[in-house]
Each structure stands twice: as structure tokens, then as C-alpha cells.
């Protein structure tokens, strides 16, 4: 699977989790200076059961790969324990795509939402 796969383009054009949560408990933003991507992620964390992510969303300006990967990531983490969400890495996200092949130069586009997630849930 490559960066211009139709599944990526479709998700980037119609993301399910784009927007700003009204009642978020955690948020953070981040940038990928090499391509200009700039996102903010919002999480509503429920403290029951040791803490899990009840709702999540993102907003900002980003390339298709970054938008789609962010949307896919949030799809996965909603309902997930916070500790488990923290443990997700680049490889997890590439696997979620079903084996996305991404070169070094575009890796940052996939990683941006992961970095912001870590930042938001740590804060």
C-alpha cells in the first residue's frame, strides 16, 4: 500500500473525526515543519476503569497522508485505555493501514498525530 492509495485519499477527504470536541479534557498541538502540517488533537478521557478515551477529534492543516492517518488513529483509540493508546507507535499505525509503505521523508506525516497524542495524554 502506497501513500497515494485511494483509501488514504478517501479518508483524507471525508474524515470521521475532524473538528473540535466541545467538552475535551486533554488537548495538544504539533507541527511537522518539513511539510507545514499543523494539527491539534482533542480527547475526552473518562477516569473510570483506570482511564479510557471516550471521544477524540483533530483539526488543522495537513497533507492527505497526515489527515488520513490522524483520522485512522483516532478511530482506533476511541474506547481504548489511555495506557494502551500511549503504547501505539509508527509500526502500529502502518499495520492499521494494512502494511503502508512509507519512506523516511513522509514518515513524519504519519507520526505527527502519534506525537501529539502522546503529548496530550501526558499533559
Amino acid at each position: 500500500m502506497y501513500c497515494d492509495d485511494p483509501r488514504i485519499i478517501e479518508r483524507a477527504e471525508a474524515p470521521a473525526h475532524r473538528g473540535r470536541l466541545a467538552d475535551f479534557t486533554h488537548t495538544a498541538s504539533g507541527d511537522n515543519p518539513f511539510c507545514g502540517d499543523s494539527l491539534q488533537l482533542f480527547f475526552k478521557v473518562n477516569d473510570q476503569h483506570g482511564g479510557f478515551i471516550e471521544q477524540a477529534s483533530f483539526d488543522g492543516y495537513a497533507c492527505s497522508l497526515c489527515l488520513a492517518s490522524s483520522d485512522l488513529l483516532l478511530d482506533q483509540v476511541i474506547g481504548m485505555p489511555v495506557a494502551q493508546a500511549h503504547s501505539l507507535g509508527l509500526d502500529s499505525l502502518l499495520l492499521l493501514w494494512g502494511g503502508l509503505e512509507v519512506g523516511r521523508a513522509r514518515r513524519g506525516c504519519v507520526e505527527l498525530s502519534l506525537r501529539i497524542l502522546g503529548r496530550a495524554l501526558t499533559a
Binding site: G30, D31, N32, P33, F34, C35, S38, G103, R104, A105, R106, G108, R115
Partner: protein, 413 residues
């Protein structure tokens, strides 16, 4: 026999005739800069011919290849040095910049006025001057681990110095003058850590010459230069422990090291990029990786045994010359460096005569190690240094030339 460990064709520079009478080049200055093998040069040319592009800045194919080669080099160097993860490897312009970054990026933030940095007297200036500079600016105290006239660090004084609870101990892995690792270096590092100090190790003369295990050494910072390990000039590495890296702040600002910049300020990128402002020496990183791959394939143990055998041959040969005194402790294995003085002849005069009349390249002077020379009570020395391409006949050529020069029968300048 002690023949080159590499095919002769890898180093065509060794076919040069350089003496006044057209003598074959005998290169015994590898500790200053090693020769660069054809395989490394081919890799550099291949990079420029096929992938020449900036890194982390474009999505086109060349940028992708260039970024891949650069980051692959980082991963390979991390693995080669047993660093743990590529994120702990910061690319610099050389060991000197690496050690200055320890001072600027770590000590300037982690230490406070009055804190002590202990510097071993056998260090290269690269691991000395940066501490003097910081002491002048930030009020740090610089203490010295003294070197005896026998070329061994004073262990008794070391234990006394530790009572001052130093925050950093600056050591060298292999002295660039004496050519050996201090006896008990591992214990020194262990003592330093037990006292709560971080350890900065100058490995410029060991990486690429012998097995170097960052995690095994248990240091916090390790620096080396590619040009001393068959790579290109202008490129080096600073490997950091995760704990030490977490206490560092960027020292240089610019492109590539930020995540966000605005009128109000900037947010640095994650390490190691936040320490690598501007376009790095991409081809030199690729070349360094190739050079280390080459010695890795050869076997670092074999390489070390070869250069040690050459040094042993030289030390034994010099022992027959009553006008020559080898610097440092007797009986210790010298990895690739032997320094000596010649009674009545200045090291520069020896060096010039060896070059002009015998085609032999050695280094003369204090070798950027003035405190070491002061401790050994000699102002300067001649240094002969070898690498995997050096041969027994190179050592014999030096011994024969020195015999002529010191007997007064040598060819005159």
C-alpha cells in the same frame, strides 16, 4: 609479515611517490586523519550521482532516497556502537563539536555555578577547552585527574577528587598521544557514576579501530570523528544515554531543528533533530556508515590485533635506539599510536626530514594534548600512527630512517 588488511587497490594514494627522490609514501599519520578507501569514495560518488538532495524537506524520489540513506546511516552507526537506539545518535561536524555540545547543550543547563567537572590530563584539547570555556562563562570548577610521568592516571588522587562529588568526568578512550586505554578505565567510569557524575568519553581514536560498546562502557556521552575512521572530514557523532539526552537543550537554532516557529518563539523538534540545525553533511554521514561497515565486515578484533602488532613492532624497534624515548607506560598495548622523542632533535625537524628524504608521513608537535605533554615533562613529540592498511614494511621504513637520522648518517634536509 603484517601486510595490509585491505586490497591494495582500495588505497591508490599509497602508490604516490612523495619524497624528494620519489620515495613511496609511507603513511603513518592515520591518527590525524585516516586514508579513505575507494569503496567509501564510490559510495559518496554514487550518492551525489544518484540521490543528491536535501533531507526531510521534500516528498520527491531523490529527497526520499537521500533521507533514507541519511537515517539508515544513523541506525547503522547506532547499531555499530551498541548505542541502543538511533534517536540517541546526534550527527555533528566532528568529535570536537560533539564534546563542545556536551558542554553547551548539557552542562550549561544541567550544571550550576560551583559544580565540578573533572578532566583527565591525558585528554585531547577537544575534551579540555570546552570545559575551560564553560568554567569562565558559568562559574563551573574544573578539576584535573593528574597523569603521572609514567603515563598512568593517578588513581589515589582520583579517589580523593571523587569526594568533591563531580557532576561530570571527561575521559578519553584511547589517548591520541599514548595510544592506549588507561588501565582500569572501566573502574574509573564505574566510580564516576557511583559518585553521581555523568561521563563524557572522547572515542575519536577508538571508534573504527577496535570494538566499542557504548552501553557496555556505561558512559553518558561518546564522541568520535569520521575522518579518523576512514570516513570524510567534517562529520562526527555524539552518542548520548537516554538520561543525559533528556537533560540537553539545543545550542544552535535554524532550519531542521524546530517543530514550530513564530514571532513569540519556537518549539524544538524531537531529538536528535533538535540538535542538528541546518542542512547536515549528508554524504559524509553515508560515507561514515560505509566506512564502519567495511571495518565491521573485516572484523574489529582482527583490525585491533593488526594495529597492535604494528605498534609492538615499532616500540620494540625503537627500544634499540638509545636516542629515542617512547612516551607513556611500558608494557601496555598500544592500539594504533606510538609517540616518542629523539634526543637532541626537535620533533618538527624529525618530521620534516622523514617526509622530505624518506617519504614518511608522521605528526610532530603536542598533538592537541598540551596538558599531557606537560605531565610527561616534554614539550612535544613525534607521533607515528597506523590503521588497517598499514604494513610491517611501513614500520621498518620508519625504524630504518630513524636509525640513519639519529646516527647522523641520514640524508640531510
Amino acid at each position: 609479515m603484517l601486510e595490509s588488511l585491505f586490497p591494495h587497490t582500495e588505497f591508490p594514494i599509497l602508490d604516490r611517490e612523495v619524497g624528494r627522490a620519489g620515495q613511496r609514501l609511507t603513511y603513518l599519520d592515520s591518527a590525524a586523519s585516516s586514508l579513505v578507501p575507494e569503496r567509501v569514495l564510490r559510495r559518496v560518488v554514487e550518492y551525489y550521482r544518484s540521490s543528491c538532495s536535501n533531507i526531510h524537506r521534500g516528498a520527491h524520489l531523490l529527497a526520499e532516497e537521500s533521507t533514507g540513506s541519511f537515517e539508515d546511516a544513523r541506525s547503522h552507526i547506532a547499531s555499530f556502537l551498541h548505542v541502543g537506539s538511533a534517536e540517541q545518535v546526534i550527527f555533528t561536524h566532528g568529535a570536537t563539536e560533539s564534546l563542545n555540545m556536551v558542554a553547551r547543550c548539557w552542562a550549561a543547563h544541567a550544571l550550576k555555578p560551583g559544580d565540578t567537572v573533572l578532566v583527565a590530563e591525558d585528554n585531547h584539547h577537544a575534551n579540555i577547552v570546552c570545559w575551560h570555556m564553560l568554567a569562565r562563562e558559568n562559574g563551573l570548577k574544573v578539576g584535573w585527574i593528574p597523569l603521572g610521568t609514567d603515563g598512568i592516571l593517578d588513581q589515589t588522587e582520583w579517589l580523593r577528587l571523587l569526594e568533591a562529588r563531580p557532576k561530570l568526568v571527561a575521559l578519553t578512550h584511547l589517548s591520541n598521544v599514548l595510544g592506549y586505554e588507561q588501565p582500569g578505565l572501566g573502574q574509573l567510569i564505574s566510580d564516576a557514576r557511583a559518585a553521581g557524575a555523568r561521563v563524557a568519553l572522547d572515542a575519536a581514536q577508538s571508534v573504527g579501530h577496535m570494538p566499542v560498546d557504548f552501553q557496555g562502557l556505561a558512559v553518558d556521552f561518546l564522541a568520535f570523528s569520521a575522518h579518523k575512521a576512514m570516513g570524510l572530514g567534517g562529520f562526527g557523532v555524539l552518542a548520548c544515554s537516554p538520561g543525559a539526552r533528556g537533560e540537553m537543550e539545543p545550542a544552535y537554532g535554524g532550519g531542521g531543528m524546530v517543530e514550530r516557529v513564530g514571532r513569540e518563539g519556537f518549539l524544538p523538534a524531537d531529538a536528535p533533530r533538535c540538535f542538528e540545525a541546518g542542512t547536515p553533511a549528508i554524504a559524509a554521514a553515508v560515507a561514515c556508515s560505509e566506512a564502519l561497515a567495511l571495518v565491521g565486515e573485516l572484523g574489529l578484533g582482527l583490525l585491533a590485533r593488526h594495529t597492535e602488532a604494528l605498534c609492538t613492532k615499532l616500540v620494540k624497534g625503537l627500544a634499540h635506539n638509545p636516542r629515542i624515548a617512547v612516551l607513556g607506560a611500558h608494557g601496555l598495548k598500544r592500539n594504533s599510536i606510538v609517540s616518542f622523542t629523539v634526543e637532541g632533535i626537535h620533533p618538527h625537524d624529525i618530521s620534516q626530514r622523514l617526509s622530505d628524504h624518506y617519504g614518511i608521513a608522521v605528526r610532530a608537535g603536542h598533538h592537541c594534548a598540551m596538558p599531557l605533554h606537560a605531565a610527561l615533562r616534554t614539550p612535544a613529540s613525534v607521533r607515528a600512527s597506523v590503521a588497517g592498511y598499514s604494513e610491517g614494511r611501513d614500520i621498518q621504513a620508519l625504524l630504518d630512517a630513524l636509525a640513519e637520522v639519529t646516527e647522523g648518517t641520514g640524508r640531510r634536509t
